[in-house]
């Protein structure tokens, strides 16, 4: 009897591993028809246009990916058709992993035969997909990837947000003018292309502002997934900076700031667009009060009529204020749809050409005009945390 029981238990274990193996690719809340696992034969079905969405849905960056997918889905619900055909989203998970990002993009192109791709949250993942997108001539629109290398030298990659050289200057200006900082320190996530890039642009801009090549007094690194940052913070603090610029993933950044305050380090922290997730405040608690970061969009000052539609629909569905990346995910989708409409045919090269021509397009997060690199030129928004909420402070126009 006991033997059968143990055999049964082992079978159960094996079975559940099998089950998990299938479903770990697609999170539980992804409807079957959208996740591509079920859509076995991406047939030459002429009534359906497939748009791939590749995002970190599991792993360290999952919260960011999820916020962006929210926006894409909302846009898909509001605008489900183009050229009389139904638009189908194929959502794949890049697991917050650079290697997985490249193969996820390949999977979208080769197996799911998508006409265009949206994503990914995280510049590193978007860069990893760059070759696949260019070689297969499938246009991709990144929603919130800000590293300039995402679109540079790649005719098929576009984005609906500003880039880090601008963001770095905005934050350096803020530190220099608003905080009166003359000495800055940088704490960056070394294994993250976005954080390293943004840190460099900040450093360059800050040095230019102060005119002192030694004005960045300390640079400390940590790895994605690290949990203890106390040593780095003490090292940085020993140099007495006026401000600490700490670009990186929201969870690590929140822990960095929290541990700094717990060590009695009372230096203002500033950062970049990745911080705007609910987890940042949940993990950082009262320690992240007063931090300042730049982002793309604020719901407090809607810019276009599309913003009004987006905000109304989002609030109705989720009963809270949208994050900036959600608005950008929404924009990436409607931009692609508009390009398909203008192209008149579902041909990825023609769609690409139309996306490249985008000028003065009204998105939820502002007017999108793409420059020759495929980057949107847009204003930046500065936000802070007060009483456990993200609060709008200022808007900085592009220079």
């Amino acid at each position: 009897m006991k033997k059968y029981l143990s055999i049964f238990m082992v079978m159960l274990l094996v079975l559940s591993i099998g089950l998990v193996g299938c479903s770990s690719q697609a999170p539980a809340d992804t409807p079957a028809e959208e996740n591509g696992e079920e859509a076995t034969e991406p047939s030459a079905d002429d009534d359906v246009i497939r748009i791939g969405v590749f995002q970190p849905i599991t792993g360290a960056n999952a919260a960011g990916g999820e916020l962006e997918v929210e926006g894409v889905r909302l846009a898909n619900e509001l605008y489900p058709e183009v050229l009389g055909k139904k638009v189908e989203l194929v959502i794949v998970d890049n697991r917050s992993d650079v290697q997985e990002a490249a193969s996820a993009a390949n999977r979208l192109i080769e197996r799911d035969k998508v006409s265009a791709i949206i994503g990914s949250w995280g510049s590193g993942f978007s860069m990893a997909a760059g070759d696949a997108v260019r070689d297969n001539q499938i246009p991709a629109v990144a929603a919130s990837a800000t590293n300039p290398l995402v679109t540079q030298g790649n005719d098929y990659y576009f984005r609906v947000c500003f880039i880090d050289p601008f963001q770095g200057v905005v934050m350096a200006n803020y530190a220099y003018n608003n905080l009166g900082a003359r000495k800055a320190a940088i704490v960056r996530e070394i294994s993250n292309d976005y954080a390293v890039g943004l840190a460099r642009f900040f450093e360059d801009a800050f040095i230019e502002l102060t005119g002192d090549p030694d004005s960045v007094v300390a640079i400390a690194d940590y790895q994605t997934g690290d949990q203890d940052f106390t040593s780095q913070l003490l090292n940085v603090n020993a140099q007495n900076p006026d401000v600490i610029f700490a670009p990186g993933n929201f969870t690590e950044s929140a822990l960095v700031i929290r541990q700094a305050k717990e060590q009695g380090i009372d230096i203002p922290f500033i950062g970049g667009d990745t911080w705007e997730t609910p987890e940042f405040i949940e993990i950082g608690q009262e320690h992240v009060e007063g931090i300042v970061f730049s982002t793309f969009f604020t719901s407090e000052t809607p810019i276009t009529s599309e913003s009004e539609t987006f905000l109304a629909e989002y609030r109705k569905r989720y009963n809270r204020e949208p994050a900036a990346v959600t608005a950008l995910g929404y924009d990436a989708y409607i931009l692609i749809l508009d390009a398909i409409e203008r192209a008149g045919v579902v041909d990825s090269v023609k769609i690409r050409d139309e996306i490249a021509k985008t000028q003065g397009f009204e998105g939820a997060a502002g007017i999108i005009s793409l420059d020759e690199n495929g980057d949107a030129v847009k204003s930046a928004v500065i936000k802070t945390v007060t009483d456990g909420k993200f609060i709008y402070m200022d808007t900085i126009e592009p220079f």
Binding site: S6, I17, T251, G264
Partner: protein
Amino acid sequence: MSFELFLQYLTNGISLGSLYALIAIGYTMVYGILKLINFAHGEIFMMSLYFGFYGVSVFSMPWYISFIVAIGMTALLGMMVERAAYKPLRESPRITIMVSAIGVSFFLQNLAIVLFGGRPKAFPNVRLLTEVMQIGSVSFQRLTMIIPIVTVVLLFALLYLVNNTKTGMAMRAVSKDHETARLMGVDVNRTITITFGIGSILAAIGGIMWGAKFPQIAPFMGVMPGLKCFIAAVVGGIGNITGAIIGGFILGIGEIMLIAFLPNLTGYRDAFAFILLIAILLFRPTGIMGEKISEKV
């Protein structure tokens, strides 16, 4: 470096080291009895954090009740894992059980993704534990004082259990020889189940302390602490409880001091643990508290 600053580094090192030590005890204890490296230990640790999280945030229990429930559930989980994945293989070669342990580890990681989602969650903040205290110029969370105390108390409790109780005697007998122990009337299955239960309780206590200190939980978070605490156990001499604690402190303080004195090596922080492992295996394979010196559990 000023003396105050050094004290601050040391405090941080002790705080991290005692966490490593706490989790390493569970590793080493299961190894001592079964000669099994329970690679799923890190995942059991991870599950305990989720149990604690759900207790507070979904069932809105007060944190102390939620943590006790989490410890109980983790013990149950550990015993279930033993029943399902290790017990049927008890007579198989040791390598088979080890592969099974790796399987359990992957299984639990993916189960956590399915059950709890891949999005990282924030562990409930317990003011009593996380409040910042200050002695002179050294400031730290209250937790920093609590964790070493918990670790030492658990150490003595375990040593007492193993050396002075009937269950402990049975454990020692099983660790020497299953067959003979059975012939002497020891209920081997029960003893092993208890061992896993206690090992999992230790993982859960370590997990809750970890969660209070680093309040971020995710399905893959058990991997690194699991590996590091395994290293701590090996450095101290795997199978030896006191050794595991020494190993934990060496690892924690070593990591902190490495960055303190050589800031350029920040990126090699995890490498430090693995280099330590290789060095120990090359020069003193039995660990600091080698088997011959002290009694195995």
